[in-house]
Amino acid sequence: MLTTIYACLFYGATAIFLAGMVLRITRFARTPAPLKIPTMPAPTTKSGVAYRLLREVTVFESLFRANKWIWAFGWIFHVALAVVLIRHLRYFVQPVPSLLALMQPLGVLAGFAMVAGLAGLWGRRLIVPRIRYITGPSDHLMLALLVAIGCSGLLMKFVAHTDIVAVKTFFLGLMRFDIQPLPSDPILLVHLGLVATLMIVFPFSKLVHAAGVFFSPSRNQVDDSRERRHLAPWAAKLEADRAR
């Protein structure tokens, strides 16, 4: 029964996550940007823009210039999250590549770093008046969700172990549409339930910033407005009545 519920939950969450993100991204992609508005100075070539975006998503360049505290906590959280996600790949592949096996201790360390980064971000929301002013219930909930996912994961690693082999069998089974029993440890169920919740919430929340950053005209446009005429389809229609 429990196994069936969680199997359905993960199929559903994956479907919602993928469909939601595809919908969001197509919407971003289909909406035209009528004017050239890169924040200057901007790269004058496409490869330059790719490098600018790469810097934004790997080292958070703009945020670094803005505020070292937010940058430090935010960057630690994101990098740690990435490492944790990579570490978790071991539960989805068989056999486990040796590199993935080797980085497992690093992944555990990243688990702590992730929670620490989140705690720092949350602390700022509570302590700094400016940031408290702009913080709403959903901002706290999102942090709570992520912290709870991190903590429940760490609990399983260090306090209340679960039958990780069975968990892996469950997920390998899910991927082959062959449902295998899931252990019923409460912490595992909480951890997985929260992860599924995060996947469901993702496309409908501010978490779409993950896709948004690539579509931001102030960051993804090339500075070439004098050399190349940029014209949105709806704006081109205005030109029909132009005398000359």
Binding site: I37, R130, V208, V213, D223, S225
Partner: protein
């Protein structure tokens, strides 16, 4: 993060000092509303329409379909707080709704309520709100406390540009009949007369002739300011403030002297006698396009080969970034030159070629700094290299002036502070917010004045010049301490006097 206690620290002013939050401090700051006539002239409803709520939401929906920036920016903010201490109006007022993210949220909360799943079903959770009269009132106040300077977008990890939000907000306000008098009246004048001032062809001609006489009296060289000359090579499009305001007009005289020294064939157009384009301030692509098309028309009618823009910040944004889109393609112009070109690019080219001669000592009474105008700095470029918009004006200034000093690094270049009067706020009823918004720049100026004895500040924006002339006296500077870049060029440039028959040969 902490509020300063007056007198506690040394007397040094910190332009980046963060104020304590004063909620509602600027809620009452609103510009005057546009009259029904001014509204209708631009195709907007004369007064607040009956079903304003539906009209506003429909307009928002239309803008979301037409402008990717708006959609991405409304969806992507994570409320990280990076922008919260970046706006000069927040730094100057402490009003939390002047923090960029909070300003955006005024629009975002309504967007969420009407256009997103979470906002429709869990409004309380995500801060979604109905569009009410109070919200409209807040929009009118706070979207007119944004000078669209883009400083926030430099620091946002997603590049969210509050200018795009305030432009959309003003567009929606126009659509329901709640326009701003200052911008809309001026745009009307451009459509009917050709410039913001409403200066007609005859008045313009006599102004330019007057300037020619002044120059000749002053330096004995017959420098011309040609108007509507068909077949001229260069069309100069400059803000109409250059025709009469101080120190703007001294800049115009500077351009004329540079053209004269280069032996260029150039002209001003009475039909497109305005570089400014307030269509940008009200967020209207259509208005911006109509104003831009006047320049295309003028260039075609006069048969010019090149277009050069005078010193004006947002005008250079529209020119550099938008003109090709709005009024291009300019395949009828000489493709060997940038289209359009900034007067600073033009002058710097000549300097590099050694075509201009200067006596730098003519500016020795001036210890100078330079104010990067926000639109030039963060929305345009000059020259071939990114950042040329910072280097070229400075290079010109250092060529014509012996004593040059930059202000603090975190207040110049792409981190420059707005003068406080940009984005359609340069109107008397907004003087309070204008003065408060100018304070970060003024503090930085005060510091460089104390450290290096700086006496004057140069700028290449008509709005900056007018605003600073108004604000600087409050900070202990003379109102003529703000200078045009080409005014300094004008002071130092050496022009050959024409040979006259009875010229005594000393």
């Amino acid at each position: 993060m902490d509020a300063i206690v007056p007198g506690s620290d040394a007397d040094r002013l910190d332009p980046l000092e963060i104020p304590t939050l004063c909620p509602g401090a600027m809620a009452a700051s609103q510009p005057w509303g546009a009259s029904p006539d001014h509204q209708k002239a631009l195709g907007f409803p004369g007064e607040l329409v009956d079903d304003w709520q539906n009209v506003a939401i429909a307009k928002m929906g239309e803008l979301l379909e037409k402008n990717r920036a708006l959609r991405v920016y409304l969806d992507s903010c994570v409320k990280c707080g990076a922008c919260t201490d970046k706006c000069h109006y927040f730094l100057g007022t402490g009003d939390p709704k002047n923090m960029p993210v909070a300003r955006q949220d005024l629009l975002r909360k309504v967007y969420r309520r009407y256009f997103t799943f979470t906002g429709k079903y869990f409004p309380g959770l995500v801060g979604a709100e109905e569009l009410t009269k109070e919200v409209i009132d807040d929009w009118y106040s706070y979207f007119h406390q944004c000078s669209q300077c883009r400083r926030c977008s430099v620091f946002c990890p997603y590049g969210i540009d509050t200018a795009e939000i305030s432009m959309a907000g003003r567009e929606i306000l126009d659509a329901i009949g709640k326009g701003q008098k200052y911008c809309n009246e001026i745009i009307g004048k451009v459509h009917t007369i050709g410039n913001n001032l409403g200066l007609n062809k005859n008045a313009l001609r006599s102004t330019l002739e007057g300037l020619e006489e002044d120059i000749e009296d002053d330096i004995g060289v017959p420098v011309k300011l040609p108007l509507d000359v068909k077949g001229a090579d260069i069309l100069l499009v400059t803000p109409s403030a250059d025709f009469f305001a101080e120190p703007h007009v001294d800049g115009l005289i500077g351009y004329a002297k540079v053209f004269h020294a280069a032996g260029a064939s150039w002209t001003i157009s009475s039909y497109a006698s305005e570089a400014a384009n307030f269509g940008m301030f009200i967020g209207s692509y259509e208005q911006m396009r109509l104003i831009s098309l006047r320049i295309r028309e003028a260039a075609l009618d006069l048969g010019v080969k090149r277009i050069v823009f005078g010193e004006c910040g947002h005008a250079w944004r529209v020119a550099y970034s938008f003109l090709n889109t709005l009024a291009g393609p300019f395949d009828f112009l000489d493709q060997r030159y940038p289209i359009p070109q900034h007067i600073c690019e033009y002058t710097w080219d000549l300097i590099q070629k050694g075509a201009l001669e200067f006596d730098k000592s003519k500016n020795d009474h001036i210890r100078l700094t330079y104010h990067d105008s926000c639109n030039v700095a963060r929305a345009t470029r000059m020259g071939d290299q990114p950042g040329g918009q910072f280097e070229i004006p400075r290079a010109i200034l250092k060529t014509v002036c012996n004593h040059y000093f930059d202000m603090a690094q975190d207040t110049i270049r792409d981190q420059t502070f707005c003068c406080g009067g940009g984005g359609g706020l340069l109107t008397d009823e907004l003087m309070d917010i204008r003065k408060k918004g100018a304070s970060p720049r003024m503090k930085a100026l005060k510091t460089v004045a104390e450290d290096h004895g700086v006496t004057h500040m140069a700028a290449i924006c008509a709005i900056c010049k007018t605003q600073f002339a108004k604000v600087m006296p409050d900070w202990g500077f003379e109102r003529d301490s703000i200078l045009s870049v080409h005014q300094l060029v004008s002071n130092a440039i050496i022009l050959q006097k024409p040979k006259q028959e009875n010229d005594d040969d000393r």
